[in-house]
């Protein structure tokens, strides 16, 4: 029935599910609910799944009747997603204990969310992709509302759920329409049967609905409304996780679906996507200028980044996809890092993350200041950081394809964006604290995370060739 290639193809996902179940059992065995064991177990699960994923380099292929594709591209992002999961596990416990959130509930859900994202990147069929999206989303709804003492957490989860289900319905409708036109839900089948430049109106509507589903997942304008509110309300480690993981997974699927399978009908959706990209980055950056809450500011910043990333889909072609993948890696690192700092500088202790709290923090906490500087430089795209090189490579790929206007808008935007990123540094290094604030905790896990992410950002920013060549080799 199932061959060994099938099993090998989903081995990392399989491992994650096992880990989730084990964590659940472990939590059940302990009545007090303060099981410390779930943290190392989850960590081992993520690291194990990551290693197994890496091991599948050049060994995987299509599995389960072409439902799953475990090619090198999948491998790269499986590893990235496991990395994101592991980092989230590292930075969570102190925060969870502080906010009185049960570790044994949190960790299985987190693992299941990563599992959902891994299904999204390894899907070769819209049905499987849909299942991945829903697995991720449902886990995230629960994770967002775990901070039960805080009504904002519940509000965030409900907003996310209603808008998420609303957009998922459109995504599903898009799948149904494409199925009606082509008779397939697999990427390959759709690509085969949808090559005309002026397709069936039903197919056009299907493509449109699909685009909307994706736009919601990556928080593109005008489907971005959920993200600032949800980012603000969710527990901060989850916000960090949510801002990088689902975005990466959705963009991988966007490359597979729109970049490759629907490439034949690019004429139909290209303009709409380019407009969405331009609007997304502009709105994200402009509104971020006026934010006083760092979680909201980073939410708008990640909206803007979705806009830059969409430029890669618009440009299309190997170079753009490699650049897009590079940017996703860089983005994951810098956002995780920035949110880790945000977790630490919650100095009123009331879950309200004001930019004011950063005043004078740079000299008082040298490591925090230095690493935050690296993350902000990288987000702003200033060399020699990964963020700079990602933008450089991404935008030049778009210029090469002739999207000069879009790139002009993008570069103007990144000029604008630097203002609000560097404002944080201004607060950290050039202002004095205005009131007595709670001290910043010093924990090994945070220190490790900050140093690790900033070191990788600097490394792949200064020497990007290795990473880029790897991604080139991995492209489908």
């Amino acid at each position: 029935m199932y061959s060994s290639t099938d099993i090998i193809g989903i081995l990392p996902e399989f491992l994650l599910v096992i880990t989730a179940i084990l964590v659940l059992i472990l939590d059940l065995l302990d009545k007090r609910g303060e099981t410390a064991g779930v943290v190392p177990l989850s960590l081992v699960g993520f690291i194990g799944a990551g290693i197994v994923s890496a091991f599948l380099w050049d060994r995987g292929g299509y599995a389960f009747y072409d439902m799953v594709v475990a090619d090198n591209f999948t491998t790269v992002f499986r590893v990235l997603l496991c990395f994101i999961g592991a980092i989230t596990v590292l930075v969570s416990p102190a925060y969870l204990r502080y906010r009185d959130i049960r570790l044994g509930e949190y960790h299985p859900l987190l693992i299941i969310a990563v599992f959902g994202m891994m299904v999204m990147v390894s899907a070769a069929d819209l049905l499987l992709f849909f299942l991945g999206v829903e697995t991720l989303s449902i886990a995230l709804y629960v994770l967002a509302c775990l901070d039960r003492r805080d009504s904002r957490s519940t509000e965030a989860a409900l907003k996310y759920l209603i808008l998420g289900a609303f957009s998922t319905a459109f995504l599903l409708y898009g799948v149904a329409l494409l199925y009606a036109v082509t008779g397939f839900t697999s990427y390959a089948g759709i690509m085969e049967n949808l090559r005309e430049t002026t397709p069936d109106p039903l197919a056009v509507a299907g493509i449109g609905f699909l685009l909307i589903g994706f736009a919601f997942k990556v928080a593109a304008v005008p489907f971005h409304f959920w993200s600032p509110d949800v980012y603000q309300g969710a527990p901060t480690p989850i916000t960090a996780f949510m801002s990088v993981g689902p975005k990466a997974a959705a963009f991988v699927a966007l490359i597979r679906v729109f970049g490759i399978a629907l490439d034949g009908t690019a004429d139909v959706w290209m303009d709409a996507l380019a407009i969405v990209a331009a609007l997304t980055m502009t709105l994200g950056n402009v509104v971020a200028l006026r934010q006083q809450n760092i979680k909201r500011m980073l939410a708008y910043s990640s909206i803007a980044h979705a806009g830059y990333l969409l430029v890669g889909i618009v440009a299309g072609g190997q170079r753009a996809f490699a650049a897009l993948s590079f940017y996703l890696v860089a983005y994951a690192l810098m956002n995780l890092g920035a949110f880790t700092v945000a977790m630490l500088v919650n100095r009123r202790g009331d879950g309200d993350y004001q930019l004011e709290d950063y005043k004078g923090a740079g000299f008082a906490h040298p490591l925090l200041g230095a690493t935050m500087a690296i993350f902000m430089f990288s987000l702003a795209g200033i060399p020699p950081t990964a963020g700079f090189f990602g933008k450089l490579y991404l935008f030049s790929a778009a210029v090469e394809k002739g999207y000069v206007l879009l790139v002009v808008i993008a570069v103007l935007n990144s000029a604008l964006a630097a203002y609000y990123y560097l404002r944080i540094l201004g607060y950290m290094y050039m202002a004095r604290p205005e009131r007595e604030l709670k001290p910043v905790p010093r924990l090994g896990a945070y220190t490790f995370t900050l140093i690790l992410t900033s070191a990788i950002i600097l490394f792949i920013g200064a020497l990007p060739a290795g990473m880029l060549n790897l991604l080139f080799a991995a492209l489908p």
């Binding site: 039960r148 009504s151 759920l161 209603i162 609303f166 799948v175 329409l177 909201r296």
Partner: protein, 101 residues
């Protein structure tokens, strides 16, 4: 007049629109959940009709997955609603407006 595929698809589209309109206009969160379910099931109708039309079982299988997913979504949604009720004592959607701008 025989009922054709296009009729099913049209019905599905109408149901989907009714569901969407419900999400946009109703104020009770439980009714909004019902409207969301309606949207999902409208799509299911399309899947089934197309599968039947093409003689392809895959479409019908998809429907089972969708039903399953929709059930899970609503289960989680209702649980969160209970949490909301504890905080606010209300099911009104406009109570969800603490975070904005």
């Amino acid at each position: 007049m025989t009922i054709q595929l296009s009729h099913y698809l049209l019905l599905s589209a109408v149901l989907f629109s009714i569901g969407a309109a419900g999400v946009l206009t109703r104020k009770n969160l439980i009714v909004i959940f019902m409207a969301l379910e309606l949207m999902m099931n409208a799509v299911n109708l399309s899947f089934v009709a197309v599968a039947r039309y093409m003689g392809d079982a895959a479409g019908q299988l998809i429907v089972f997955f969708v039903i399953c997913v929709a059930a899970a979504e609503v289960a989680v949604g209702l649980a969160i609603l209970i949490a909301l009720w504890r905080h606010k004592g209300s099911m009104h959607i406009d109570t969800l407006a603490a975070m904005k701008w």
